[in-house]
């Protein structure tokens, strides 16, 4: 297998992040943590966008992953980080496989609206289920990793470690997939479905597959976020949260798997500063940025990097 530049870069970033973790200040670590979790979700959004679909309800899987992790942690009393993430991935995978049967038939705003409806159904359920803490959600302990008990700071480092490893692994796998025969179909479907069908590939099966992949990535992101933040609530599936993912995906562009990760980092950095200095104009900054990016940089921030280095 020939290594492409992106694969090498993913390896370098992984090693660098893990090596730097002992000396990273607390704020930097939590900033990176949140960005990587968001980045994982947006990796999935990027795959869908390449296929020509925008989901206004990906909070559904983000939240589902987090609640699956939370259930394993609090209800089943198995507070192991690895188990929690696995639960998030499996549950979202199953739900997406079922909902995908339906959603793969929809396009454009109807796809966006139906996914929004599903995410709001989950929101409606969670808000009223007192066993899961209704609007307050519940706290998460995540005390072990692969059975090894974690105390004090070890928990923070383990959380960071598993986040870095899983996010970069996801990016690596997605990058491989995008270069595969099927992965390349994504853009073909976006450009012209009919031609793809004439070539003998199934549009519906591909969209279904991409939907499931993106859901699992969102589930992993949600479970990791639950572990790192230590708290989950139904806001994770409220539509403005899904909108945030769409925002990051637009901001990043779909050019490369690094785009969503970098985009998420930029987003989180701006958010941290905006919360600090002007909490009441933060959304305005977002909105204006989004308009500027859509008008002047339709390829997202990634297109700035790409322009300098023609492939």
């Amino acid at each position: 297998m020939k290594l492409d530049r992106t694969t090498i870069a993913i390896g370098v970033v992984t090693v660098a992040l893990l090596a730097a973790s002992p000396v990273l200040p607390k704020w930097a670590m939590s900033l990176l943590n949140v960005s990587l979790c968001y980045g994982t979700v947006v990796l999935g959004m990027m795959l869908l966008m390449r296929t020509g679909l925008v989901s206004f309800g990906h909070g559904l899987y983000y939240c589902l992953g987090a609640y699956a992790a939370g259930t394993v942690d609090q209800m089943l009393k198995l507070p192991d980080m690895a188990l929690m993430v696995a639960a998030g991935a499996v549950v979202t995978g199953i739900v997406a496989a079922i909902l995908g049967l339906l959603l793969a038939r929809y396009r454009d705003i109807f796809f966006a609206m139906l996914s929004l409806a599903f995410s709001m159904i989950l929101y409606g359920l969670l808000v009223k289920s007192s066993a899961l803490g209704s609007t307050d959600g519940f706290n998460i302990s995540a005390k072990t990793l692969f059975g090894v008990a974690l105390v004090d700071d070890a928990r923070r480092y383990a959380g960071f470690g598993i986040t870095v490893v899983l996010t970069t692994l996801s990016a690596f796998a997605l990058n491989l997939y995008l270069r595969s025969h099927r992965g390349r179909l994504a853009e073909a479907i976006r450009d012209n479905e009919l031609r793809v069908e004439y070539m003998g590939a199934s549009v519906r099966a591909t969209i279904h597959l991409h939907y499931v992949i993106s859901a699992v990535l969102a589930g992993i992101g949600g479970a990791l976020m639950a572990i790192n933040i230590g708290h989950i609530d139904p806001e994770m599936t409220y539509w403005p949260q899904s909108g945030e993912f769409v925002f990051i995906a637009i901001l990043s562009g779909t050019g490369n798997v690094f785009a969503p990760l970098g985009g998420a980092l930029v987003f989180e950095t701006i958010r941290s500063f905006a919360y600090e200095y002007s909490p009441n104009t933060w959304q305005m900054v977002l909105g204006i940025t989004m308009l500027i990016v859509m008008i002047f940089l339709p390829g997202g921030l990634w297109s700035l990097i790409q322009r300098r280095k023609p492939a």
Binding site: D108, A117, M120, Y123, G124, P240, Q283, L286, M290, L291
Partner: protein, 303 residues
């Protein structure tokens, strides 16, 4: 039996409220093919402006009944200021783009307007209330139906909804400008070639749609405490209504509002924990059975 009656009354009131908000959304989509997320912000702007106007009115110790004029004035001002501003300042540069891109543009607009509201009115909940606690709501008093007491204000909502629906239907089917509008809906390019001023049609449509959102907000303001984020809550509900009825369809919005209103009233009375769930479940089921909503016509296949 009396509970069933209560469900029907609540359902009709709620449906009227939903219709006022959703009809503007469906009008804008039908004509301009823009699914306007910022509709929620216009609704919130209507509510906040109504609070300011009514507070000023009560501050002068004018007759409380006049506060209704303030509600109407708030809706008209918001519609006439923000409608043209948004359409001329932003949306007109976006016509012809993909529908999904247009949704994202209005989402960005929604984010911006949410903060405009916070900057102007602050983040504390506000009430439409005079110095002695009088509101447009209480001025009218209550009436009794099957042992339960209902505010007359609810009848105002029903009245406004019916009047709005009737007026729009009349304009669309009986007037010259309505016929021109239908021509634009069917084929924008051909209408322009025949001499219809499409830009003006869009401008007027968006302003009217924005005003309807503000009417919804202004009429809601006296009944709730007006808080930031109220637009986000309403817009998904309005989406459910128009998607159930069929995007861009006027009778669809009425039917969608009726269905959502009844479902919500029924679930509040019989199973309150399923309130939100049931509304979106209906939306999902309708989309599954009829992907384009209940009142959608056959569409020409595009390649």
């Amino acid at each position: 039996m009396s509970q069933l009656l209560a469900v029907v009354i609540d359902g009709i009131v709620y449906a009227s409220w939903l219709f006022i908000i959703a009809v503007g959304l469906t009008l804008i989509y039908g004509v301009m093919k823009i699914l306007n997320i910022a509709h929620g912000s216009l609704y919130a702007l209507g509510a906040f402006t109504a609070v300011s106007f009514c507070t000023a009115w009560f501050g002068h110790n004018y007759a409380a009944a006049g506060s209704f004029a303030m509600l109407a004035a708030a809706a008209i001002v918001v519609g006439l200021v923000f409608g043209p501003l948004i359409e001329r300042g932003l949306l007109r540069f976006m016509y012809g783009k993909d529908e999904v891109v247009l949704v994202l543009v209005t989402y960005a607009l929604f984010l911006i307007l949410e903060d405009v509201i916070k900057l102007v009115w602050g983040v504390d909940p506000l009430l439409v209330q005079g110095p002695n606690g009088e509101t447009p709501y209480s001025v009218l008093g209550n009436f009794e139906a099957s042992g339960l007491s209902y505010p007359y204000y609810n009848l105002v909502l029903v009245g406004v909804a019916v009047a709005t629906g009737a007026a729009l239907t009349w304009v669309l089917t009986r007037t010259r400008s309505g016929k021109l509008l239908i021509a634009v809906i069917h084929d924008r390019e051909m209408s322009a070639a025949m001499g219809i001023d499409v830009g003006r049609t869009y401008f007027v449509t968006f302003t009217v749609g924005a005003m309807l959102a503000a009417v919804g907000g202004a009429l809601t303001a006296p009944t709730v405490s007006v808080v930031t984020g109220m637009g986000a809550e309403v817009i998904v509900m309005a989406f459910a209504v128009v998607v159930i009825g069929g995007l861009g369809s006027l009778p669809g919005a009425a039917l969608g509002a009726f269905i959502v209103g009844m479902v919500r009233a029924a679930s509040i009375h019989y199973k309150p924990e399923l309130e939100l769930f049931s509304v979106y479940l209906v939306m999902a089921v309708v989309l599954i059975v009829r992907p384009k909503g209940l009142f959608s016509g056959a569409e020409v296949r595009k390649i």
